[in-house]
Symmetry: D3
């Protein structure tokens, strides 16, 4: 079937993906990830302490915070720091990023350290959370390498790779990696986080228009699996540079 | 295969479900829903105004708020009102409830009114969000009937039914409607919101231990579909009383 | 004199009182108290720590928190957790409940423990604070019995009993235990907390219409004393079941 | 009976009372009230608007705010503005001041105006809330006179006078107008707000040590009535200067 | 040149300055400072602890908090404690006061203590921050003398003196110590904090109308230097009383 | 005299300056400004409304918000949105940026519009506020050009140019444009905002070590004037591209 997505891409085609390491100077890991016009700065910061609930247990912690610059979007949104609280969407996304990355870390091997992944959206065009997870993984690996280079840890606590992509049903056709125009106009929107072994880590699907059927779910997860495979290859390539 | 779930239930067996209408006196809809030991009070409140972004558009709004009494759980948790903010989990759940119920409402037919579904957990034993959605649907229908009885609206804005259930993989076996003990000890946890036509409205799966595979996803969604079918029948029966 | 209170009760007549122990499962004490249509869930939670100002002094603490479900009332009120702070009325009531119950506890005998009484109003029809005090006393005794059953404490730190009731002057007649309709239409409103020895623990009277005179004060306190005597008997009976 | 109060005063003796009008320049009413070492600056501010719930009803509003300078007390307490919220005690006191003064104002005659009474404690030595009410009444009258002088209102909306004093039981003896040393060491503490006709407006008694008995209540209210009579005379005298 | 400032003062003339020590009873230092109609209560509170970042370093801390009573100004402004946060202007001023006073304290000699300077504006007529700095210095010295009198410290940690004054360009003429009327109508406003050796500690100039030129800057700093010399003499005199 | 600044620059030498327009896609003006390693993203957003205090006056508003990504600095700092408030330093800086840019805008010509300048620090190495002002000016001009291109305004409301630079005294030598290493180790730090006519808009000097003398002030302002002249030329060049 031939359809014409607003973006002109094939249904199973990712946007242009960019993963630039060392984007800023101070962080132990710093990655600018681009999914088309969506640009997210992901930094990994290592600290030698853990949250209260983990103290003295010999385990580390991996957590994430997410933010959107006020004018990352088409119209300016309020600055959350000025409003005095993070919105529900922000909290939901940062919880998702944190859970996703903890899924590939052996926290015993990390030791009593916290790695915080700050994902700040410089420009938004749909898919900021999936771009953030994909980029944060690379920043996390860089931070771990930094710890290894300083011989603070010996065994690598990161196992496998984690990447994420959105899928949706646009005018009846399952499509991969929606941009803002497609996302605003689609029936179903699903974010899929997977590992490099093809396992699902998180699956969050929402019917925007009509409820989605089993066969649509199947088609979307298949698209996502293929997309994540491509993204993992790009992460690997970026980490090899 | 025979397994012995902590609850002693069969893998595809719901807990005892209770749906009690008219639980409190003032609200336009008031339902106490029980999924085993989980008890959630769902009230529907009708107000003749809409949020700012909808004003003058001739459409209504359906939204939800979620709360947990401090000692609904095994150990006391802080009161969110005293801490001065709702936690990320709370915001995430109430956003989910709101989206799920908006999926069965024609907001044009509702007119410029807001129906707020307050879901307050009196006792928690796993699955509070799925119980809340299942009960809130019944409270919503009662509120709509109240509007119809007063002839404020003529055509029913609710189409179909919405219910939700959790599924998971417990020691390798897909199981339905996890209680707290099962939930704490399972590999994957998924909340599924569906309509009475078998369509998916929300699907949120999280790998707790290992990443889940495609066949596990399939088994879980099948279990969920069967569970929701039962729940919808109970909603219908409760509404017929 | 014959008057016709809106409720149809005699001036010195309490509403139907219900005290149901073990209402929820997790708390060390859990009581649903009903003063007519007013229903408050009072739970007592025991924790092995005390606030900073008591640390190391060998004394315990008894405190209370109060909340009202958004649709406990005729019209929905904002959720305090969502607004980001507890209102002045809430803080005032929870301070009153805490002081009232500390008046019957030997905090040395309690040891370095905190008992928190959460009083959450499921349905409001006037007199929520007096119902809360009356019910919280029973929950407190249950929590102490739980400590004794586990032999964590040997001597009972609770001495005497505490109960509370409202009184008012309605169209010139002193009346006991006002419901919402009476409360909204009365000249004076007074909340009286007493112990089982007939002593006053708290007395809070407010002139709503005209200032009240000495003889009205006397009549109201006499009514309250009789009402509290009845309530203490009901507490005792509930605790004996 | 002869007792020796810490302050050396007779049981029925007020502290030295000072009521200084025109203490600051900008406010429509500005009074420094002193009850011994307790010093409270009470200003009355007139604004030509009312809270949302009164708009368009042709009635005015009288409200109060209370604050304590951080070092008004023996040891420094946190600044509420810096902590980001007013404490429960502050809210309770300012609600009391507001209710007390509304009891002597005909809000129809005031018209659609708000008078805000700011009561800021410069130095605290017990009885700040009763001093605040006593001083705020004088500031309120000055603000009303200012409105009358500008012919914004013609008939005086203030009827009668309102003053307040604390009473207590100190080592078994009922005493009037407790200072901090006496208050910290007494069995019962009661704040009494009365009008110039001898009627009670607010009565708030708290048993600190043992519960207080009926005859103690009687003795305390008699002391308070005499004290308020003296305070009303001083208010009148100050307003005549 | 002859000009007629709104205040009638000569361009280089300070307002009437008052520095009253021991204004309130509890604080270790308590000064009411008046710059004409501007009146600020400055208290110094000594506490035997330091902020977390200084713990264990053998150094003390000097900090300031600033507040304005709601009706210190011509029209009432919101109470910051009620709004739930301190405004940007408040934070900016209290940071300035703190930095200014730390510039004359040897924090090693102070030892692990914090001196907090609370500067609360009772009445505002321009120049509240410069009055606050000038008065807080005197309160600080009193607090240090209190520490020395108790032999808690032996060597005086305060070196030199610090005072502050505003200067501006009013209708083309540089003028000293602007009151509110002058400040509202001037082209440039500059706050200058200096020590008794003629050195600058803080200089904050803002062009209100046109940008100010180099020769205006020179004239203003010269005026300020003369003003501070006078103020330091008055501080010295007050401290000698 | 020859000194060796940590940066190796001559005392009067700016860092490498970069001004990149159109850095992000959605904002009406979007500039990445670099002062050496300091990188600030400045966006200008146009909205067709003004704050309440300006409504109906036919004037516009120009305001700024400032933020620092958590890992813009050497060690991670808390995210202000997560802490729930902006710190004093943030508020101080954004007030400074706003005032500085309003100094070159005729708000009548702007009409009832608000231009918000969001200055977000991606990487910090000293001088973030001066870089922000310098970059925000360019973003502001781009936003005004956007309004002119759409013919929403006809006459240019921006007059002149505004730029800013820091100066300091490092080991006795006045130096221009301090980086973080120099700033941490200098005696005096001054931020100077000037226009293209050589007039001062803001001058904020702070003695870090010893108080600074008149001749140091003179040397610093001379350095700043030369630096701003260079920066204004670079702004002009960037705007001509």
């Amino acid at each position: 079937m031939t359809i014409s997505r607003p973006s002109g891409r094939a249904p199973d085609q990712l946007r242009d993906i960019g993963i630039e390491r060392g984007y800023t100077a101070h962080a132990e890991g710093s990655v600018l990830v681009c999914f088309g016009q969506t640009r997210v700065l992901c930094t990994a910061s290592v600290e030698n302490r853990v949250p209260a609930f983990l103290r003295g247990k010999g385990e580390g912690w991996v957590t994430a915070e997410y933010g959107m610059l006020p004018r990352a979007t088409h119209t300016r949104s309020d600055r959350e720091a000025a409003r005095g609280k993070q919105g529900g969407r922000t909290l939901e996304i940062q919880r998702l990023i944190g859970r996703s990355l903890r899924a590939c870390v052996d926290r015993k091997l990390l030791g009593e350290r916290t790695i915080t992944l700050d994902c700040d959206v410089l420009q938004a065009d749909g898919g900021t959370r999936t771009a953030a997870i994909t980029g944060a993984y690379v920043a996390l690996v860089d931070a771990v390498r930094w710890l290894q280079a300083r011989r603070e840890i010996t065994r690598d606590p990161v196992f496998g790779a984690v990447a994420a992509v959105s899928v949706g049903v646009w005018r009846g056709v399952p499509v991969l990696d929606l941009d803002y125009a497609e996302d605003s106009d689609c029936d179903t929107d699903m974010n899929v986080v997977m590992n490099d072994g093809g396992g699902f880590i998180e699956l969050q699907g929402t019917a925007e228009g009509h409820a989605f059927r089993r066969e649509e779910l199947d088609a979307m997860t298949a698209l996502a699996a293929a997309g994540v495979t491509e993204l993992v290859a790009m992460q690997r390539e970026a980490l090899a540079r």
